[in-house]
Structures are given as structure tokens and as C-alpha cells.
């Protein structure tokens, strides 16, 4: 009995109050779904899919926090790089979905690297207010890309507006390129197709592989040097580490992961979303990693994995539940905004004690 109580209090300490509230909320929503006639396996399947599809975008927060630039609100920079990679791959008209996917990722990362380096140099000049600056970098790059999307000389019919023949569409279907290619790889359907649970094995494997790669990097000599530079720059300097270089490295990796993340996201969603769609994505990623237990000074891969599941899980379950309870309202969306911004506010209000 006592052992159990100790175990429970240990779990409580490890999770912390905010996570326990959110886990409780998630379970309440799942239970509420049953009398409302919603299929729980279906909801869970949806939660799992959203978890894996958002996972890499949230994972991108980890190197950013670890290298000392705090939460990367400017992940939109990586996102637009990924979108640029995707549109270029579609324009190239590669028929094989896998080739198309990897071409998109390769181009996306190639674009993301110089952007990330420049962004890192900028953040080195504004030490102490990285989060404010990164938020505005994120906003500005989205606005700038609005012009670019309109003026890129792409010709593919799936990309440009059907009328006028110039400028790209808001939403671009990936059906003819790499849509769903990861989701369908080794996918498993449990139960019947409409009510059951679909496991997107390929997507999950890809997300896990990305986690392993980042984990290995963080355990390498350079990765550990980067973490040290982030948590105590003077200490790192005294150990012969170039702190500014490490910050640029972390920022660049974060941006590149953002590019890969949005491509993974888009292939699962089935569409590319251009223009203002990436505007608030940075906030969702930040909220997710914070729900997972990260702070502005330290983030682990487990925080990204757990946080994404909780954040996306709640959205996946809350939306149908709220629609059943109050049909015709957008309560679910209101709740999502409250949760994501509330958790960011909560985490930022806690930053002082850590430093």
C-alpha cells in the first residue's frame, strides 16, 4: 500500500500539475465520447495520426531550446523552406511518391540550412530577447513568402490558380505526388473501416526515426557541447566551446527539422497549405513541447513526444465531442486557442525561477 502511494507521488512529481490536469481532461473527453455515440477507437486513431504528423515540427523545438535560443517561435522559417521544397518537387513532376517525398525533403532542407544559419546569426545579436525576435521573424517570413508564392514562375497545373495561370493556390492537393505515402506504408486497420482504429505505421516509424537521429545527435560530442552552451555560456566558453557557433548550429538544425516536419505533416494531411497557414504553427509547436514538460531552458525528446500526443490528442477528441454537445458552434477551436496560448503563458510565467 505504502509502496503504491510512494510510486504515485513519484509519478505526480515527475509529471507536474499541469500535465496531470491535461491528462485528466483527455480521459474525461474520451469517457464523454461514449454516451455521445462517438467511436472511441476512431477518436484514438485520429489522435495517433495527428500525434505522428505534428511530431517532427514539435521535435524541432528541442535543439533550439538546448542550444540556448529558447523556444523557436520562428519555426515558420523552416516551414516555408519545407513548403518551397514541396512545391518545387511537385513542379518537377516526379511520378514516384517516395522519390517525390524525398526530393521535397532534400530541397526543403537545402533551403532551410542557409536560412537557419542567417537566422542563427541574427539571434546571436539579440541575446536575451530571442523569443520576441523569433516571433517576429516567424511573422515576417510568412508575409514575405506571400509575395513569393504569388510570383514564383511555377507552371504545374496542380500548383497554380486554374484561372489566370500565375501565382500559387492556397491549398495544393498532394494526391498526384506524395500524399499519404508515409501513412499508408505498412498501415494497419483494426476493426471496421469507418468505426475502427487505423494505425499509420510508416508515419509513426518515420517520426520515431527522426527522434532517434536527434537523440543520437544530442548524445554526441557536438550535441553535448551545444547543450552546455545553451545552459551556461560562460561554462561552455571556459571549456573551449564556441558558444555562438553552437547556437547557430542548433538554430539551423531546428529550422531543417521544421522543413522536414511540415512535409511529413502535409503528406498526412494530403494538402499543402500556403500563404498565411504557417502563421500560428510556431505557437502550436511551442505549446505542445511545453505541455510535454519542457521549459524555455531545457527540452528533451520525451517532452516533444508526450507533449505532442497530449496537445493533439485533446484537439482530436475535443472537436467531435464539442460538436456533439453544442452543434453549430466552434467551441472546439476556441478551446484549442485557450489551451495552446494558456500553456505558453503558463510556461513563460515560470521562466524566471529556472535561470
Amino acid at each position: 500500500m505504502r509502496a503504491l502511494r510512494e510510486k504515485l507521488s513519484e509519478i505526480y512529481e515527475n509529471l507536474g500539475l499541469p500535465r496531470i490536469i491535461i491528462i485528466g481532461f483527455f480521459i474525461v473527453l474520451l469517457i464523454a465520447a461514449v454516451p455521445l455515440g462517438l467511436s472511441v477507437p476512431n477518436l484514438l486513431g485520429d489522435a495517433i495520426r495527428r500525434w505522428a504528423m505534428y511530431g517532427i515540427l514539435v521535435l524541432a523545438m528541442v535543439p533550439a531550446v538546448e542550444c540556448g535560443i529558447n523556444l523557436n517561435f520562428g519555426i515558420s522559417l523552416g516551414i516555408v523552406a519545407g513548403l518551397l521544397g514541396s512545391t518545387t518537387a511537385i513542379e518537377m513532376g516526379i511520378p514516384n511518391p517516395w522519390t517525390s517525398l524525398f526530393a521535397a525533403m532534400a530541397i526543403g532542407v537545402l533551403v532551410a540550412i542557409p536560412l537557419g544559419i542567417g537566422y542563427g546569426i541574427l539571434l546571436n545579436r539579440v541575446k536575451g530577447s530571442e523569443m520576441t525576435v523569433s516571433t517576429y521573424v516567424g511573422f515576417s517570413v510568412v508575409a514575405f513568402m506571400n509575395l513569393v508564392w504569388l510570383s514564383l514562375p511555377f507552371k504545374s497545373g496542380t500548383l497554380i490558380w486554374p484561372l489566370g495561370g500565375r501565382g500559387m493556390r492556397n491549398t495544393i492537393s498532394l494526391a498526384s505526388s506524395f500524399g499519404g505515402v508515409l501513412n499508408n506504408f505498412l498501415g494497419v486497420q483494426i476493426g471496421d473501416p469507418t468505426q475502427g482504429l487505423y494505425v499509420p505505421t510508416g508515419l509513426i516509424l518515420f517520426f520515431m526515426a527522426a527522434c532517434v537521429v536527434v537523440w543520437l545527435f544530442l548524445r554526441s560530442k557536438t550535441g553535448l557541447a551545444m547543450s552546455a552552451a545553451g545552459s551556461n555560456p560562460m561554462f561552455a566558453r571556459a571549456s573551449g566551446i564556441n558558444v555562438d557557433m553552437m547556437r547557430i548550429l542548433g538554430t539551423t538544425i531546428s529550422t531543417a527539422l521544421g522543413a522536414i516536419g511540415i512535409i511529413t505533416y502535409s503528406q498526412s494531411y494530403g494538402f499543402l497549405q500556403l500563404y498565411n497557414a504557417p502563421l500560428m504553427m510556431g505557437f502550436h509547436c511551442v505549446a505542445a513541447v511545453l505541455i510535454g514538460g519542457a521549459t524555455v531552458r531545457s527540452a528533451k525528446i520525451s517532452h516533444a513526444i508526450i507533449g505532442t500526443f497530449l496537445f493533439q490528442g485533446i484537439l482530436a477528441v475535443a472537436l467531435p465531442v464539442a460538436n456533439k454537445l453544442l452543434p453549430g458552434t466552434n467551441l472546439a477551436d476556441v478551446m484549442r486557442i485557450i489551451i495552446s496560448n494558456g500553456i505558453i503563458l503558463y510556461a513563460l510565467s515560470k521562466t524566471k525561477e529556472g535561470s
Binding site: 554526441s220 560530442k221 553535448l224 552546455a228 551556461n232 560562460m234 561554462f235 573551449g240 531552458r297 531545457s298
Partner: protein, 533 residues
């Protein structure tokens, strides 16, 4: 008035958390007297002045015992405003001036002369306009008194440092009814000619009947201008002397004099030290470390010795190790076992086998949110590639090896902890210091520099750390440089001690050299023609 003293402090005692920093201190100052207050860092000079000014730090820590009399009347000074009312002024070591204001505004700030206006009649005195003309006239008078002919309307920001000090003095003497003026190391930041000028001004002010308390480390200044001097050591008055009847040597001896317990006795010494076998050599070494500037130091540290670097705070002793390690920018030549180091490259000293335990343990020395294990192996991993394991094309952290090594270090250095996974932030100061030492030793250095090895740790741990350093030196022949503000500590273990003053080597002394020599060196009275910065 009824008293021959403007200030009498009688039987002043003060405790900080059970630690007695002042014991029955007496101080009397006559009107027009220049009374010098001398002593090492930590002798109690600042505490005594904090008591005189009623600083909050005194009253938050339980007040003090003893009595203060101003003009023979008992005075209750429990905040700095009261001190001002009693006519006590202070010229600070760091300037308390507002750079963007003019000289006049700085002199008059807080005591502005104002004219009522329509708005102020409605909304109160805070909205009265300044009577700039009158304020300028007052400022002029104050500036003239100290013989400073700068325009009273220029901004303070552009003035030379020496002038800022004079503006500060002008502000103090502009206060009506000033009876006693305290100078806290006023010449510390001044050039020599500025310092001479300041001393003249101090004498001028004293001649107007104002009592002066003059705090300084520079004994030559003390002897030049003061009438009497009070020497503090370890919170006690060791002597109050007439300047005429004593010598600099005598004062220096009284300031330092303390028993030194030799830690090295009883340890076998089989070392062979030779001037031909030099481990570390500094030539014309400059370091740009704020507050601890080094200005052209030359030093030769012999292979196998324990070399001490001492001196008062702010004189540059800390700049030397920080410059060598590349934490602050430096210039000049550094040779390690005959090989010149390129200090513009980050980590150069580390890669060549110099390990460093920083004086700023929590800021530079440790990753407080990481485990003991990670802190111990980190530098060796980064610099020498130890504790890494190859997995095909990639190399990652070898936790098993790191764990083994850390357990061994915990045992040899007796680090009190729950295990290698404990976060260093939760360790006591002494154990944190041992973790720093463990990290330095993990590098397997050819030369170890330890800066302030015992700062902020308790007596028991202090001894352990020092004895371990001596053991390393005697048994493994490790050359050790100890930088410390505790002269006693250096004298208990070092073979030679360099005293740094004004960013330069004032003297290199044997540990059992007379107290007076140490005192003179610390006061910056150099011997044999060393250049004056």
C-alpha cells in the same frame, strides 16, 4: 558642541549570522582631522562605514552594538537619510553620478532649488520649476572650493574619470552643514596626477574644519596626508597611531600580522625546483577583464612548484588565470613548457594541458542543472575526446565509462552526495568545489590553476581541498598555481607568492617573508623600479 570630536564610535560590534565581523571597535575623528582607516579586504572597514551610514544591510541583519556620537551627542542613525541630516557625507569608490545630467544637476540632485508656479500651487511642490540660476551659482561655489575649474553646465558623461570624482566631492561639500566626509578608496581609479590633486583637495576640505575619514589601501597616501590612522584587522582595531610617529613598514606589518599555519609540514618533499625548468612563462601579459585588469605582467612559474598569486580585490590577480584560459581577451606571450600558446584560439590553454578551477563556481565553473557525472567528464570529453564511444559512423557519449570515472572521483575527493546522478546545484559549496576540481583533474593536466579555492566554503572543506592540492603536487609532481585573496591560505602552502597590485607584479615573496613586506606589496609600494601603471 561640547566635545572635541565630531565623530565618536564607541565599542562597535557587529555579527552577520553568528559570524563576528567587528569586535569593540573605537573610532574618533576631530574636526579638521584627516583620519585614515586601513586594513585588508574583509578587515571590517566597509561594515564600519555601513553602520555609520545606517545602511539597510546592517539593520536587516540584526543591527549592531555600541554607540555613535556626533558632536558629543548620541546619534541614532538607522537609515542613510538620517546620516545625511547629521551632516555625514560620502564619496564613493564607484561614482554615483547620472551620466546624462550636467555637473550642476548632479551636484544638486535631490536637493534642487525650486520656484513655485501656477501648476505647483494646484498640484503640490513636486511640480515647481527649477531655479537653474541659483543652482548654478551654488554649484560654482562648491566647485571653486575644491579648485576645480570646469564649467558647471557641461554633461558629466564626457568628463575624464578624475573629474567625475571631483564632481562627486563637490556634491558632498555643497550639502549644508556637512561635518564629516568619508572617502572610500577615492584614488583607486585615478591616475597618479589626479590622485595627487585629490589628496590636495582632501587637505583643503579638512582645513575648513570638516572631519575626514579616509579609507584606502595605498599606505603611501595615508602617510602623506593623514593626521592619525586606525588599523583594522579581522574586525578589531589593532592600533590607532599618529602618522608622524610611525613608518609605512610598521603600518603594513600591523595590517597583515597573523599566524600562518603551515599545511605543508610533515609532507615529504622530494621535488627539484629549478629556474631552468619553467612550466609557465608570461611575458608582457595584458588581460582586459573588467574590474580585474592585468597590465603587462611578467612571471615565470617553475615546473613542480605551488605558486601563489595574491593581492587585494580589483588589482588584477583574477585577470591572470582568466586571461590564460581565454575567458577574457588578452595580449602578450604565454609559454607552456617552452611552447607558445595562441590565446586568440578558444580552448588553446585547455588543449595544451592547463586545467582551471574558476573563482566563479556557480557562474563559470558548473552546469548547475546537470549531474555530477556530466560536470566531471564534460571538459575531458570536449577537449580530449574521452568518454566517447564509436557506434559505426557516429560517436556518442559513453555513459558507463563516465559513471565509473565519476564514482572513483567521488571516492578520492570525498564528494558528499547521493550518487553521480545528483544535480550539482543541490550540493553544498565545498562539494561543488570538489566537483570543479574533479573536472580539472579528469583532464589530466600538466598545469593546474585554481582560483579562489576556498571561497564560500566552510572551514573543514577548506582544509580538505587545500590538502588535496598539496598532495597532488607532492605525490604526482603537478605544478599548481593558486590565486587567492586569502594571504594566509597562500602562505600556508605555496613555494613562492606573487603579489599583484595595479595590474602588475608588485613583488614575488617567500611564504615566510616578513608581514611588512606583504603589506607593502599589497599597498602597491613596489620595490626596485617596477613601472607604475
Amino acid at each position: 558642541m561640547g566635545s572635541r570630536y565630531v565623530l565618536e564610535m564607541t565599542d562597535i560590534s557587529k555579527e552577520y549570522y553568528g559570524n563576528r565581523v567587528l569586535k569593540n571597535v573605537n573610532l574618533q575623528v576631530e574636526p579638521g582631522e584627516i583620519h585614515a582607516l586601513v586594513g585588508e579586504n574583509g578587515a571590517g572597514k566597509s561594515t564600519l562605514m555601513n553602520i555609520l551610514f545606517g545602511m539597510p544591510v546592517i539593520h536587516e541583519t540584526g543591527g549592531f552594538e555600541g554607540e555613535i556620537k556626533i558632536d558629543g551627542q548620541p546619534a541614532m542613525i538607522d537609515n542613510p537619510y538620517k546620516a545625511m541630516d547629521y551632516g555625514i557625507g560620502m564619496v564613493h569608490q564607484e561614482f554615483m553620478l547620472i551620466p546624462g545630467f550636467t555637473v550642476t544637476e548632479n551636484i544638486k540632485v535631490g536637493r534642487e532649488i525650486t520656484n513655485p508656479t501656477f501648476l505647483s500651487k494646484v498640484f503640490g511642490k513636486d511640480l515647481e520649476t527649477l531655479d537653474i540660476e541659483k543652482m548654478r551659482r551654488d554649484a560654482r561655489v562648491a566647485l571653486d572650493t575644491i579648485g576645480l575649474n570646469i564649467e558647471e553646465y557641461v554633461q558629466v558623461a564626457g568628463l575624464p574619470i578624475g573629474y567625475m570624482q571631483f564632481v562627486e566631492i563637490a556634491r558632498e561639500i555643497d550639502k549644508t552643514g556637512i561635518k564629516l566626509l568619508v572617502f572610500d578608496e577615492p584614488t583607486a581609479v585615478l591616475t597618479e596626477s589626479e590622485a595627487d590633486r585629490l589628496l590636495e583637495i582632501v587637505q583643503l576640505i579638512a582645513s575648513k574644519g570638516i572631519g575626514i575619514v579616509f579609507i584606502t589601501h595605498r599606505l603611501d597616501e595615508v602617510m602623506a596626508i593623514s593626521d592619525r590612522l586606525t588599523i583594522l584587522r579581522d574586525g578589531e582595531v589593532v592600533a590607532t597611531l599618529n602618522a608622524k610617529d610611525t613608518t609605512v613598514e610598521r603600518v603594513a606589518e600591523l595590517m597583515i600580522g597573523r599566524k600562518v599555519e603551515k599545511l605543508i609540514e610533515g609532507m615529504g618533499d622530494h621535488r627539484v625546483l629549478s629556474d631552468a625548468d619553467i612550466a609557465l612563462s608570461l611575458r608582457d601579459f595584458y588581460v582586459d577583464m573588467p574590474g580585474e585588469r592585468v597590465k603587462g605582467v611578467n612571471l615565470d612559474i617553475r615546473n613542480g612548484e605551488i605558486f601563489g598569486i595574491g593581492g587585494l580585490a580589483g588589482q588584477g590577480k583574477l585577470g591572470i588565470p582568466n586571461g590564460i584560459m581565454g575567458i577574457y581577451d588578452s595580449e602578450g606571450t604565454v609559454e607552456l613548457f617552452g611552447k607558445e600558446l595562441d590565446l586568440t584560439k578558444l580552448g588553446e590553454a585547455l588543449r595544451n594541458g592547463i586545467a582551471f578551477v574558476s573563482e566563479d563556481r556557480r557562474g563559470v565553473g558548473l552546469l548547475l542543472d546537470e549531474s555530477i557525472e556530466f560536470n566531471v567528464v564534460f571538459s575531458a570529453m570536449q577537449i580530449k575526446g574521452d568518454f566517447l564511444i564509436r557506434l559505426g559512423p557516429i560517436t556518442i557519449y559513453d555513459q558507463r565509462k563516465a559513471r565509473e570515472h565519476t564514482l572513483e572521483m567521488i571516492k578520492t575527493l570525498d564528494i558528499r552526495c547521493t550518487g553521480p546522478k545528483q544535480l550539482v546545484g543541490s550540493l553544498s559549496g565545498g562539494n561543488q568545489q570538489k566537483v570543479c576540481l574533479a573536472r580539472a583533474l579528469t583532464l589530466n593536466p600538466a598545469l593546474l590553476i585554481v582560483s579562489e579555492p576556498t571561497r564560500g566554503i566552510d572551514i573543514g572543506a577548506k582544509r580538505l581541498v587545500l590538502e588535496h592540492l598539496i598532495k597532488l603536487n607532492r605525490e604526482e609532481g603537478l605544478t599548481i598555481v593558486v590565486v587567492s585573496s586569502e594571504l594566509v591560505e597562500l602562505r600556508s602552502m605555496c613555494d613562492r607568492i606573487a603579489i599583484i597590485s595595479g595590474g602588475n607584479v608588485a613583488a614575488i615573496l617567500e611564504p615566510d617573508a616578513p608581514d611588512a613586506e606583504f603589506g607593502l606589496a599589497m599597498a602597491g609600494l613596489r620595490k626596485e623600479g617596477a613601472s607604475i601603471a
